[in-house]
Symmetry: C2
Subunit: 194 residues, 2 copies
Amino acid sequence: MQLILASTSAARQEMFCSAGIEAQFIASGVDEAALKAGFTGPPPALALALAQAKARSVAQAHPGAFVIGADQLLVCDGNIFDKPSDLAEAATHLRALSGRAHELITAVCVLQAGTVLWTHVESARLTIRPLSEAFIASYLAAEGTKILGCVGAYRLEGLGAQLFEHVEGDYFTILGLPLLPLLGFLRGLGALAG
Amino acid sequence: MQLILASTSAARQEMFCSAGIEAQFIASGVDEAALKAGFTGPPPALALALAQAKARSVAQAHPGAFVIGADQLLVCDGNIFDKPSDLAEAATHLRALSGRAHELITAVCVLQAGTVLWTHVESARLTIRPLSEAFIASYLAAEGTKILGCVGAYRLEGLGAQLFEHVEGDYFTILGLPLLPLLGFLRGLGALAG
């Protein structure tokens, strides 16, 4: 049974490898910005739409495979935050998130031959403590450009731990993919050893 | 300000290093088995007693330092599970945990000059799916002796992800130390940049 993760996210790939899931990793060519710009529904529906668009794009070339799509959105006070494009924007994001709670909405789906077999959306709630300008500057200097690939400009599994007051939600959901329900579905399919 | 973690747990040391916390790691010489055998209170009190015994043991030689002690207990149906001593015992533990929920109780404390400055206990609840004998055998063969250092015979951040149906609780608590409240306390002390 061929399993493909339609994602180039290093965190998701590492999660699959760590958990011993044998899958191919294939980047989708989806124009996420265009999809976001034209979307009118609530954030969980947008996360699912993005996950499905990625899976669908990869599934076209692999009609027999089970293709997993995933997406994660950061929402704070109704605003969706994209990955920062440079360190100045990362600082702007951290200032906006400072002293308040935000949601990480993570969507995952499994497609085969154009059919959506399964979907799951899960949210985590994270509270960032009030951050001083001096802290933001020294944090971004220490992390450097590696946080540009991270929504919210943090890696909770790295220095980002120093930003948080409170974190509430599933471990894997925060890392970028609700792994346990996905594994449960794949076991049900017979795609994983029981 | 000298910071010492009285622990040789690789997971805890990695958590400190990842979060950029500068600390020394010093093993305590505490006889945990003896302390457990003589203890009559409930599991959260035992976890705190173990954390404090470790910190106290290291603090004696470092009277000026802030010494952090930590402990984690796995409790299932009122029974406390120690780290398995060999793979046969690991299999016994997995059979006992199969198809049910258990708690990971994690305690942390900070001592200085014999005084307990701060304590925190946090629990996570994890549900292991019903595991077949064949799965337990192949899982233990794949993980090998590296899971002998792990309470419950699993590493959630590794192949252990395949054991779980559901995980509920703080990310860091599950990994072995409730990092965010500890960082909050250390910031309050002035031991970390704000």
